[in-house]
Symmetry: C2
Subunit: 263 residues, 2 copies
DNA sequence: GGCATCACTATTGCATGCACTTTGATGATG
DNA sequence: CATCATCAAAGTGCATGCAATAGTGATGCC
């Protein structure tokens, strides 16, 4: 009993409040990648001291949503194209695991809940993009939460947020949200209970979301200047020697050609 | 360049230092699950103020290695049996992804590095358990780091630490480290380049580690007292009502019978 | 003697203050 | 006029101090 109180009633969990608020602002693109997050400002906005704001930023940095640079203002993270690709790859595996655990095990109530959520997505279809994106992301988190596995829930949420963040970087408007029907298909397959089928569905669903967003390889708005200029800079001879090679190999393997030519 | 400095030379990254130290202490079982981590003590030990120690604890809590309870002393996390099982399930998927990306793509140098690591494991074979366990875990992290994918590296490290933590809870001494040969097999298969084969190997490797640790279901040393006594206490009639059912279903599905009978 | 209560101590929660770093603007200089 | 040094403003890094809370042992009551 006494233990439960900690979780159900977050008492005065101000750090968590700020985290949630920022997370949401980020996935709704109210805060674009690169946006500055000064501790003072956050503290003032949420009525807390810098200490708390700072702690919250630390948490979000651990989740990969914000970037913390020493002695500099924290900013909303700007994942590279490669990181985005990696994130989606991981996400696919994790969510396959989710549906594998869930297939054929959902209660009627849960299925109704899922359908209700997709209905909400449908309604938001013509509303602002930000809401659609958030709802789509939350669908996946809702799914994960039904596994009742705290670890899985956390990882899926985290990676979903990160993917969401990359969408705001690379995806062109309206490109990411033709997926509502795929959500319905997922629910149906889950109810039916064929684990392999659902896993495959989820795989393709996420794959196509990633493709729509990433294959196009639109000019990475707001991308970090150092990365953008990397291919142009002459190697200063003392830059990372061996380690870079492996990375470069991967970059070339996966990232066809048109890296920053559009700039 | 300037950016790299942040990562390569941690400047005066005291939070990170404390995190690393604690992580290591935890996986070497110098700090057992449930061990108290008072901010003062940490601060004093590492020559910093509580502020820093506190921040470090926050990070570790985000990683699931320590438990933070409001107004109470932080403790090393004590994952439940179910959480352990979940962690391993996730780990399997993530590490399958690792070897899938790595199969046939490792340089000779990297393969040598891996072999060297396993040699070290071999040497530590008769040493203290703690070292063996740490080395075994670090093998997997080394593998992950060769993907050069920061996100994947982080997730694998995190989950590997968590699994390591559960081993110290559930595994009986010496039960977890007959796996050195499996590491060698993995390396060979990676060098050979058959992705499917390596994935399968990794799957079985982790599965058997998990089984050795979890199937036996040894008396959960140091487990949370409330959980241990739960099956004995008479239901006080007002205990958690509906939510528990879904969870319980899962618990019974996966966790055969002998929950705490050995106590 | 057993049990509830209370006070005390250990420890966290959080804000504030000061030192240091970065940034960017301003003015000096060639 | 372009370039560089200087300096103030803004912001972070971190320690410390005070209030609040949980744990613990002592006290008194039944």
């Amino acid at each position: 009993m006494t233990r439960e109180d900690n979780r159900s009633r977050p008492a005065t969990d101000r750090v968590g409040t700020i985290c949630r608020a920022l997370r949401r602002a980020i996935i709704e693109q109210a805060l674009e990648p690169g946006a500055k997050l000064p501790e003072d400002a956050l503290g003032e906005r949420f009525g807390v001291s810098r200490t708390i704001a700072r702690h919250a930023l630390g948490q979000l940095a651990a989740e990969g949503l914000v970037e913390l640079r020493r002695n500099r203002i924290a900013v909303v993270a700007t994942p590279s194209w490669q990181e985005a690709r990696d994130a989606f790859d991981i996400r696919i595996e994790l969510e396959r695991l989710v549906v594998r655990q869930l297939a054929g095990r959902l209660t009627k109530t849960q299925i109704a809940e899922l359908h209700a959520h997709v209905d909400a997505e449908d309604e938001a279809r013509n509303g602002p993009d930000a809401i659609s994106i958030r709802l789509a992301t939350e669908f996946h988190i809702l799914l994960a939460s039904m596994t009742e596995s705290p670890i899985l829930i956390r990882y899926v949420s985290e990676i979903a947020y990160r993917c969401c963040l990359t969408l705001s970087l690379f995806s062109r408007p309206h490109s990411s949200e033709c997926a509502i029907n795929e959500h319905r298909l997922l629910i149906d397959a889950l109810a039916k209970g064929d684990a392999d089928a659902v896993m495959s569905l989820m795989h393709h669903h996420l794959d196509s979301v990633a493709s729509r967003a990433l294959v196009a390889q639109t000019r990475p708005r707001g991308r970090d200047i150092m990365d953008i200029l990397a291919p142009y800079a002459e190697p200063p001879a003392d830059s990372l020697p061996a380690r870079a090679t492996a990375r470069d190999r991967r970059l070339h393997r996966r990232q066809p050609a048109c890296k920053v030519h559009t700039v």
